[in-house]
């Protein structure tokens, strides 16, 4: 129970970063932090005590394995997170080239 609460605290730290930080790169970092916490919650859900890693040894029979479905979901979500991070970095570098700053508030009033 405490692990899930700690994951949610990590999610809240990421959310805090998203709302308060003004630096483009730090907003991307806090987005990644929220992603890390959600991925961890998903994998924690699929964990089974004394379960083996989901690689079946053909010889043995009837082992208890960890649930592979949340792992497949998280693998997909990690690559989605990479996709959005890549496009955000593209915009961040482009805005930096134009305004010479990563600060979102300065970019707003340099709108010209």
């Amino acid at each position: 129970m405490t692990v899930y609460l700690l994951c949610f605290v990590l999610f809240l730290v990421g959310l805090y970063g998203l709302i308060t930080r003004r630096n483009l790169i730090k907003i991307i970092i806090s987005k990644s932090i929220t992603e890390f916490s959600v991925f961890l919650i998903l994998v924690l859900i699929g964990y089974i005590d004394q379960g083996l890693a989901p690689i079946v040894d053909p010889g043995t029979s009837h082992q208890v394995y960890v649930d592979p479905l949340p792992q497949a979901m998280v693998l997909t979500a990690i690559v989605i997170g990479l996709a959005t991070t890549a496009m955000l970095m593209a915009i961040a570098i482009r805005l930096y080239r134009k305004y010479k700053t990563f600060d979102i508030r300065e970019i707003k009033n340099l709108r010209g």
Binding site: A53, I55, V56, P58, L75, V79, L82, A86, M89, A90, I93, R94, R97
Partner: protein, 145 residues
């Protein structure tokens, strides 16, 4: 973009081959050991990124590479979709059906279509991440000119 010091270049020359082979190993053994199309593809892209960072290259050459990598990427994903539809044509008339024989579990050539999907998804992921990195490097160089 200028390359790095001679030591980094030498170490990269030694390591890039191994990283590349390891990526291919991960893709081919996707259905036997952990990893698969995604992890292997990123590893192969990592090998190329290491090469570009260590040796640096003019933006002109990079532009040709970007065209090449985005084409391989499109071909990779196109093959995945075509294989899915092919399964529909003569499998059990169902999208994404595993129509090849499953073979004996644990062998390299087992699990029917899965190794093929692994290979094409690996190609697609390697092409995509290389395209993203090259696009960033080209923009950095072009705009600083």
């Amino acid at each position: 973009m200028e390359g790095m010091s001679i030591i980094v270049k030498k170490v990269t020359q030694l390591m890039v081959g191994i990283i590349f082979m390891f990526g291919i190993y991960i893709i081919l053994h996707g259905h036997l050991s952990p990893g698969g199309g995604f992890a292997g593809g990123v590893l192969i892209a990592g090998a190329f990124i290491l090469l570009i960072l260590a040796f640096g290259s003019s933006s002109l050459k990079l532009k040709k590479e970007v065209a090449g990598s985005s084409n391989t990427e499109s071909i990779g994903i196109l093959m995945v979709v075509v294989m899915a539809v092919m399964a529909m044509l003569f499998g059990a008339k169902v999208f994404f059906f595993n129509f090849l024989p499953k073979g004996e579990a644990g062998e390299l050539l087992s699990a029917g279509v899965i190794p093929l999907y692994n290979i094409f998804i690996g190609i697609e992921v390697a092409g995509a991440i290389l395209t993203i990195f090259l696009a960033l490097i080209i923009f950095k160089e072009e705009s600083s000119k």
